[in-house]
Symmetry: C2
């Protein structure tokens, strides 16, 4: 019996599993973030740590292929660098894909549709027969609307606007200033330009907790994120000329755990593309997408 | 006779001068960028290089104080690091200020008013008696609307929007893709996340040259920059409760050399704050602001 190592490397954690060809998970491990955009060196060490834990398990010897879905792999020269990094450490065949493709295969397998992810960053990936494509996924400087990073930055930009207009800070602004131990708006510059993308995105839990307490401004940030994600999804639906009903899956903290983003996303998307067939599987593990990807790539080779 | 060293450290170059107390420039030198946000290490080396050239000149021995206006000094822990860096190298008293304050003193001396700078980044600095304040100047992640960096990023975001909507690229988009040797929109990610802020901002000359050739989209980017800068200036005018007519000076490539930004800025600002007294002095050297700053600080001490 041969096994597959599947790795899902995201902005907060890296999950690695060993599974058989029937999609049974035999072993699972979780280590630190694997998004190469957050910090290439640390992320690749986390990814390798996850692989060694798999290879060191009692199933290790039977693992014949590694399929990894890596956030941020398309930016800079990350793919080439990570491939080299892993090649120096193992002889196993390695398939490196965008984390969105891995999650797509976990949720939709070989069916046509769209998967939208909204975590630290945001991206939609979809397929229609032989066609595949993305919308979003441009990273924090060019886009990432609808992501945790973007929500937090919008809240911080509100603080800068209040300072420029000499308005009193809103309740949400005061909470965020307090959270980063800043007394004056000017001090947010120090925080923003020293923090990494993941640290900034992580503050979305503060915005969320204010939204739950009833803060309207906090809720608006999430509603806008839901609208942005719906537009991004609809653009891919049109670009790939997908049939109705659209088969749609979603992943990431904002779309899985945030009611404000979720409800607005579903509402706006339905109004834009009509019938949607929601693929829901709350226990779904993205790393299991490795199975359909491995067979796909192995058959092709 | 004692002399003053004045340094203006910006996103593209660092200008250092030696002047006497009558504002006569005795010596002048230009080296590479001094904006600490672009690259702290390189910028501080450029600044030190400019100082050593001054000290090594025949006027060097008579220089008694260094006044430096440094872009990006308020971000991160830049001020503390640069102070330490310079302290290790010279015993001369050093006054470090934001580059906007230096330019303000060069243009407006001790008068009340506003100076708006739009180069790589953008900021407005103003004074009204004992009150002083800023609007803008939040850096490329939090703001910098109306700056070269922002103009270029807006043009790149248009490319991402075209890709997501499967629209053909506009003429300006094609020119920019060609400029960075990219064949597909996806390749701009590699460029944007590898380039520094100065390299991205430098592409505004490409946008400008298209605007001059008649490209409407390129012109619109600059008109919007002019509008943003006018709003930023008007916000400071209100915040400092300045009297009419507003004494106003401007600096930086977009406001000094770009007709589209300039004309829109003047038009929109006049409509927002009424009478404006434009302080124009095209030959003005920002570094000469060191004189009024030095006397100001020395008198206080």
């Amino acid at each position: 019996m041969t096994y597959i190592i599947g790795i899902d490397a995201g902005g907060t954690k890296t999950n690695a599993i060993i599974m058989d060809r029937q999609k049974n998970i035999l072993f699972s491990v979780e280590v630190g973030f694997g998004n190469l955009q957050v910090d290439f060196q640390e992320a690749s060490c986390h990814i390798w740590k996850a692989i060694t834990k798999c290879l060191g398990s009692i199933y290790g010897e039977r693992c014949k292929v590694i399929v990894a879905g890596i956030a941020g792999i398309e930016a800079k020269n990350h793919r080439v660098r990570l491939e080299r990094f892993l090649r120096e450490r193992t002889l196993l065949p390695i398939i490196l894909v965008n984390d969105a493709i891995l999650a797509y295969h976990a949720m939709l397998g070989n069916e046509d549709g769209v998967l939208t992810i909204a975590g630290t960053g945001s991206i939609s990936y979809g397929r229609n027969g032989d066609k595949e494509g993305y919308t979003g996924g441009w990273g924090h400087l060019l886009g990432d609307e609808g992501s945790s990073y973007h929500v937090v930055m919008q809240a911080f930009r509100k603080i800068t606007a209040e300072a420029d207009q000499a308005c009193p800070h809103s309740s949400l602004s005061r909470v965020l200033l307090h959270e980063i131990s800043a007394k004056r708006a000017e001090e947010i510059k120090e925080f923003i330009y020293q923090a990494n993308k993941g640290e900034i995105a992580a503050l979305s839990v503060v915005v969320f907790s204010e939204a739950v307490k009833g803060d309207q401004e906090a809720r608006e940030h999430f509603y806008r994120a839901g609208q942005e994600l719906a537009k991004q999804t609809a653009r891919l639906y049109h670009k790939l000329q997908l049939a109705r009903p659209l088969k749609l899956a979603s992943k990431g903290s904002l779309l899985e755990k945030n009611l404000y983003v979720q409800s607005e996303y579903e509402k706006v998307l339905s109004s834009m593309v009509g019938d949607v067939e929601w693929i829901r599987d709350e226990k779904n593990v993205s790393a299991t997408g490795a199975l359909s990807l491995a067979s796909h790539y192995i058959e092709e080779e």
